[in-house]
Symmetry: C2
Subunit: 371 residues, 2 copies
């Protein structure tokens, strides 16, 4: 549409001024870069380097003749399979169009004054989902130890507290007794976002039996290799799920997404083999970074958060930025978070195949040789 | 999870009481019945009786090796193709996970006191999306003529007015001059929901050039045979799209949905042939209902809204309910809306294949013979 100048319009509408105040202030989530073209080693968005289960292609093919018909609205088969796997029932499970969808549902249903809470640093979507509902978001700051401050968490009085465990972008896992201490200490809901738990974290699912104020959120994007399909789920007491379902789009998952996720979930052998491989590659890579004298947090995820040192043994924001730029110039894409004092001297590297990590390490070595 | 009784829980949480007040009051959308098992003639949810374009299967297959990677976040290729088709640009288009997703985005961004508005009867999702955001919804009542009352529409002072054109469940199309009159009369946004427009309605897209307070919403669920894929789109001035994008889930469409919708959109030949066939079958069916002496509204959609008469020439709620039950017993599923005086004496019949409509008409005749 060639937008005419306002005075030629028969009716004008100032969309920005007409948007609700909290929407005017909102900053949309910035996804990790998706480079176009071939030749990139893409270690920037924590995707699984291995393809989805071969069962997925079969399941998708079987749905192709049904696309003219609406999907089953609740993703019932997927709920049942997930409930059973975790010793729960279908009534304890909700499926989202990605776990981001579920984080939004939780926020819309349960967050009011004084707002939500999260740790800093953690997943950068939490400020966006809180902001989309016009709610404040209290920060609980880490120090360099990355230990969880349960008292500070409770002191926020957040209606919903989002906790990524294992955390991102650090990779650090919080032990289960700390999660339980948080559940005891708070009045609101604790959302434990376990996007990365399959790579070595301890799941809070076992705590659902004793704590009704817990929601565990999972995704098919990482350990099931289905980032391209947008499927996440949450586990909680049945009354919480019933509330969340009220705000869920009636048909939030398409037929193919439901079928693909179910096929991937049921192929336990592929899942198990791939997550073990990712963890093995992570430890090999970590040892190589250790050998360079670079500090890395212990990772229970499919990425490493590492503080690079240059050839002079210096670390800091300039050093991390220099490494990021050098790698990008060599078409190795990693993630750099310059905005926070606890992240600006680090880089985050997703775990790819062994061959990809070799390319990364070779490029890092070439930076050391030339920086 | 076997939920223990509250006094054995280490921490209880009353989800209903903790939900926001407007969520406590919310009634979730009730989708049309999706019968399990074979043998049904399913004429209840306005699905296209013909399969999606064969190009869809090819496009889906081409994405299968990429599922481990996140999708392109904005559905850029689809936006570009749609923008070009309608003489607009990519900046005038947003893609939703179904058009329901877009209706929710519009509501979240632009509805505040005194709320939104809609006509009654129309699409039963509007009360749900308004309620999900805690907003009131003003009713503009039709009378039996189903003519649009533009003055009453403007008098609601709605921040956003949802208008289904052609309307559902009546099938009646509103002429473009009435849409333009509404755009002139209102202060807020007019959302023209054109889910059915490809079956004979007049699109408001041409009015986008003159009216910045217009949003046209479309879906791939009906005329593109992709109800199972959840893809909708909206066309509006670029500043409106920019606001809606702030609240959109960063990855709201998966890879396969993007690819499938693009393939269906570009297969103009299949689209054109199928919509012509649906319209032809509609008119044949309508003639058969006319021959029975049943009143039907003129339909510009893929369904008919018809007031059945029994063998005694009587119409009314009991007659419509009796026909609905008789058809269901014969595994012919249609839709019946008993809750409103303007709908309770009618049935809504989606247009299937010619063979399916013959089954429907035969079953209706058997009801006439036995009721």
């Amino acid at each position: 549409m060639v937008l005419l100048s306002n005075n030629l319009m028969k009716k004008t509408f100032d969309a920005f001024q007409r948007a609700l105040p909290h929407i005017q202030e909102l900053h949309a989530y910035v996804p990790g870069e998706q480079p176009q073209g071939a030749g990139w080693v893409k270690l920037n968005t924590n995707e699984n380097p291995y393809p989805a289960s071969p069962k997925v292609a079969q399941a998708v093919a079987a749905e192709l003749s049904n696309l003219r018909k609406y999907p089953e609205p609740t993703s019932a088969r997927l709920r049942a399979a997930i409930g059973q796997r975790y010793g729960l029932t279908q009534q304890n499970v909700i499926i989202g169009n990605g776990s981001d969808n579920i984080l939004d549902l939780i926020t819309r249903c349960f967050v009011s004054e004084p707002g939500a809470g999260h740790t800093v640093p953690s997943y950068s979507l939490y400020p966006v989902v809180a902001g989309m509902s016009g709610q404040a978001l209290a920060d609980v700051a880490f120090d360099r130890s990355m230990r969880l401050d349960v008292e500070a968490l409770a002191a926020t009085q957040a209606k919903v507290f989002y906790l990524t465990n294992p955390n991102a972008p650090t990779g650090v896992a919080f032990p289960l007794p700390q999660i339980e201490a948080a559940l005891q200490a708070i009045d609101g809901l604790l959302v434990v976002d376990e996007a990365y738990v399959d790579f070595g974290g301890e799941s809070a699912v076992a705590l659902l039996q004793d704590y009704e104020n817990l929601i565990v959120v999972r995704t098919f994007s990482k350990s099931y290799s289905l980032a391209g399909m947008r499927v996440g789920f949450a586990l909680a007491a049945a009354p919480i799920i019933e509330i969340l379902d009220r705000v869920r789009d009636a048909y939030n998952l398409d037929r193919i997404a439901q079928a693909a996720a179910l096929a991937a979930f049921e192929d336990v052998e592929t899942f198990e083999r791939q997550r073990q491989q990712v963890m093995a590659t992570r430890e090999t890579t970590r040892a190589a970074l250790d050998a360079l004298g670079w500090f890395s947090y212990p990772s229970a995820t499919n990425f490493l958060f590492t503080e690079p040192k240059n050839a002079q043994g210096e670390s800091g924001p300039e050093v991390a930025a220099s490494l990021f730029a050098h790698l990008k110039a060599q078409r190795v894409l990693i993630r750099y978070f310059p905005a926070h004092p606890l992240t600006c001297a680090f880089i985050r590297v997703s775990i790819g195949t062994d061959a990809e990590m070799d390319v990364f390490l070779t490029a890092a070595q070439s930076w050391l040789n030339h920086a």
